[in-house]
C-alpha cells in the first residue's frame, strides 16, 4: 500500500508573529520557517507504517513556493521515498489545496493519505476533510491511533471529552492529532541521502486546478492587548478580588 503524506511550510512555532503596519497580513519577511508540527506527526506516522511493513512506499507532497522544497527535503530525510511539489507563489486556501491534493491522489492512488489536522498559520483545520469529501473517501480526523487491517483502517480520534474509534474503508484520509506519535529528528546521513531522492515538480495548471478563492482577507490586526500586570499581596486578597471585583467565583 502506498501512503501519501501532505506537508506544509509555515512559520516556526517558536516565532512571535508581527502584523504588517498596513494590516494586510502577517509579516513573514526574514522569519524562520519550518514544517507544520502536525505535518511532522503525519510524516512520522507514514514512515512508521512503512517500517512496520504496512506501507510499501511513502510519497510526500507539498503545495507552495519554491522554498517549500526545504520541507519536502525534511520529509525525505525523515523517511519518505520521493516527493511531489505543487509549486505556486499564490496564496492557496483549503478548498484549493484539497482540489490540488485530490488530483495528486487520482494520479498516485494511495491507500492512505495522511495530513496534519491543521496548520499553525491559518488554523483552518479543513483540508483533510475537504480532500476526503472530494475524493469520496472516509475520514479519520484528529487521529491518535491508526491501525490498518486488511482493506480497512481503524482510527482512534481525539474528540471533545474523550476518544472515538471508527473503522474506514480504504482508501481513506487521516488527519493527525498530537498524541498520535512523537516525531523523530532527521539524522545527518539521512539528510545527505535525502538530497538524492527525487522531487517531481508540478504546477496547478498541470493539474487542471485554478488557484482561486472566494475568501478575501480584508484586514489582519493584532488582538486587543490585555491590560494585565496587577499584583495581589496575598491569597486572601486574590480570593476577594475574584469574588467581588472580577465576579468569576461565587
Amino acid at each position: 500500500m502506498k501512503v501519501l503524506v501532505a506537508v506544509k511550510r509555515v512559520i516556526d512555532y517558536n516565532v512571535k508573529i508581527r502584523v504588517k503596519p498596513d494590516h494586510s497580513d502577517v509579516d513573514l519577511t526574514n522569519v524562520k520557517m519550518a514544517m507544520n508540527p502536525f505535518c511532522e506527526i503525519a510524516v512520522e506516522e507514514a514512515v512508521r507504517l512503512k517500517e512496520r511493513g504496512v506501507a510499501s512506499e511513502v510519497v510526500a507532497v507539498t503545495i507552495g513556493p519554491k522554498a517549500a522544497q526545504e520541507q519536502l527535503r525534511t520529509a525525505l530525510a525523515l523517511g519518505a521515498d520521493r516527493a511531489i511539489h505543487v509549486e505556486t507563489d499564490d496564496k492557496v486556501e483549503s478548498l484549493t489545496a484539497a482540489k490540488l491534493l485530490k488530483r495528486v491522489v487520482d494520479d498516485e492512488q494511495p491507500g492512505l493519505t495522511i495530513l496534519g489536522k491543521q496548520s499553525i498559520d491559518t488554523d483552518n483545520n479543513q483540508t483533510g476533510q475537504m480532500l476526503a469529501a472530494l475524493a469520496g473517501m472516509g475520514q479519520g480526523t484528529f487521529a491518535s491511533e491508526v491501525q490498518v487491517e486488511g482493506d480497512r483502517v481503524q482510527v482512534t480520534r481525539e474528540i471533545d471529552g474523550g476518544l472515538q474509534t471508527v473503522s474506514l474503508k480504504l482508501p481513506a484520509v487521516i488527519t493527525t492529532d498530537l498524541r498520535l506519535n512523537e516525531p523523530r529528528y532527521a539524522k545527518l546521513p539521512d539528510i545527505m541521502k535525502a538530497k538524492k531522492k527525487p522531487i517531481d515538480v508540478k504546477h496547478p495548471d498541470d493539474l487542471g486546478v485554478a488557484v482561486a478563492s472566494s475568501l478575501s482577507v480584508l484586514k489582519v490586526e493584532s488582538p486587543a492587548e490585555r491590560q494585565g500586570g496587577t499584583k495581589v499581596a496575598s491569597v486572601d486578597e486574590l480570593v476577594d478580588k475574584l469574588k467581588n471585583e472580577a465576579k468569576v467565583i461565587a
Binding site: 484539497a98 483552518n124 475537504m130 469520496g136 493584532s222 494585565g228 480570593v239 475574584l242
Partner: protein, 308 residues
C-alpha cells in the same frame, strides 16, 4: 437570509454550545432553523425547540446518523444547504469534523472558529493561534462556518419552535462506528470548561499536579498544563494548553508555575480573567495576568484551596 444551525448533542442531550451558535446566527440575522441529526433524538429536538429566536427544528432521526459520523452527516447537511444562505456549527471536534466536508461537497470555502460577525458575509476569525485576527469576506452564495462558542453569549431557553421530522436517509459505506471512550473524570472538558487551572514546569513533577485537584474540584475546573510541563513528562499531551495544544477561553484561567512562553499565551490569552501564581516576579505571565500573586506555589496552593 436563512440560517441552518447544526445542533450538537451527546447521549441524547443537547449540548450547551448550540445556544451559543444560535446567538452567532442571530448576529448574522435572518430566519434560523436548527438541524438535529442522530438516532433517537426527540429529546434533543425538544430542548432545541426552546432556544430563543429559532423558527423550526428539523429532525433527521435515523440509525445512519448514530454517533454523527462525518460522512453521512455531511451528506445530509449538504442536501439541505441549498435552502440556506449560511450553515453554522460549533467549532467543536464534531463541527470541525463535519463542516469542512459539507463545504467541499458544496464547492464553497469554509470559515473556522468565527469569533465575530461584521456583516452577513464578513467575519472575524483568529489566525496564528490567536496572535492575529483576520477579517475575512466570503463571496460564496453559501457560507459554511464553525463558531467559537466562547465568543457569543448563549441565547435563552425561552422559545417554542416547531419540530418537523425530515425524511432524509443516506447510505454510508465509507465509515463505521467502533466504540467511544469518554473520559470518566467528573471534570469538565478542557476546551469548554468555565474555569481552567493549569500547571507549568514550576510544578516540579507530575505528582505535584495533585495539588491542583482540590482547587479544580472547588471551582468545577478543568486541569491543563503548559508545553514545558508536557515536554518534561509531568502530564500527558492532551492536557496541553497552547499553540500546539488546546486553545481555551474560559471565564477564569489560573496559571500556576507557568512562566508564560508565547506558545502558551497563544492558547489562553482570551480567557476573561487570568490569575498567575509564580515565584519569579519577572515571569512574563504577570504581564497578561489580571491578578498576579508572587509566591511559592507549594504554600499558595493549599492556602488557596482552603479559602475557596
Amino acid at each position: 437570509m436563512s440560517i441552518l444551525v447544526i445542533a450538537e448533542h451527546h447521549n441524547g442531550q443537547l449540548a450547551g454550545s448550540t445556544a451559543h451558535v444560535v446567538a452567532a446566527a442571530q448576529a448574522i440575522g435572518g430566519d434560523i432553523d436548527i438541524l438535529v441529526a442522530g438516532e433517537n433524538v426527540s429529546g434533543v429536538a425538544e430542548s432545541a425547540a426552546k432556544l430563543a429566536g429559532v423558527g423550526k427544528i428539523k429532525v433527521a432521526d435515523d440509525s445512519v446518523y448514530a454517533h454523527q459520523l462525518a460522512e453521512p452527516t455531511a451528506e445530509l447537511i449538504a442536501g439541505l444547504a441549498d435552502d440556506y444562505s449560511h450553515v453554522l456549527a460549533a467549532a467543536s471536534t464534531q463541527g470541525k469534523n463535519v463542516m469542512p466536508r459539507v463545504a467541499a461537497l458544496k464547492d464553497v470555502a469554509a470559515l473556522s472558529e468565527v469569533i465575530g460577525v461584521e456583516s452577513p458575509d464578513t467575519f472575524l476569525r483568529p489566525i496564528y493561534a490567536g496572535n492575529a485576527i483576520a477579517t475575512v469576506q466570503s463571496s460564496d452564495a453559501l457560507k459554511v462556518l464553525t463558531v467559537r462558542t466562547t465568543a457569543f453569549d448563549a441565547v435563552e431557553a425561552t422559545g417554542s419552535a416547531g419540530v418537523e421530522a425530515i425524511d432524509a436517509t443516506v447510505d454510508n459505506t465509507l465509515s463505521q462506528f467502533v466504540d467511544e471512550e469518554l473520559a470518566s473524570s467528573d471534570r469538565p472538558e478542557l476546551g469548554s470548561a468555565r474555569v481552567v487551572v493549569s500547571g507549568g514546569r514550576g510544578m516540579g513533577n507530575g505528582e505535584n499536579f495533585k495539588l491542583l485537584d482540590g482547587i479544580a474540584d472547588k471551582l468545577g475546573a478543568a486541569i491543563g498544563a503548559s508545553r514545558a510541563a508536557v515536554d518534561a513528562g509531568f502530564v500527558p499531551n492532551d492536557m496541553q494548553v497552547g499553540q500546539t495544544g488546546k486553545i481555551v477561553a474560559p471565564e477564569l484561567y489560573i496559571a500556576v508555575g507557568i512562566s508564560g512562553a508565547i506558545q502558551h499565551l497563544a492558547g489562553m490569552k482570551d480567557a476573561k480573567v487570568i490569575v498567575a501564581i509564580n515565584k519569579d516576579e519577572e515571569a512574563p505571565i504577570f504581564q497578561v495576568a489580571d491578578y498576579g500573586l508572587v509566591g511559592d506555589l507549594f504554600e499558595v496552593l493549599p492556602e488557596l484551596e482552603s479559602k475557596l
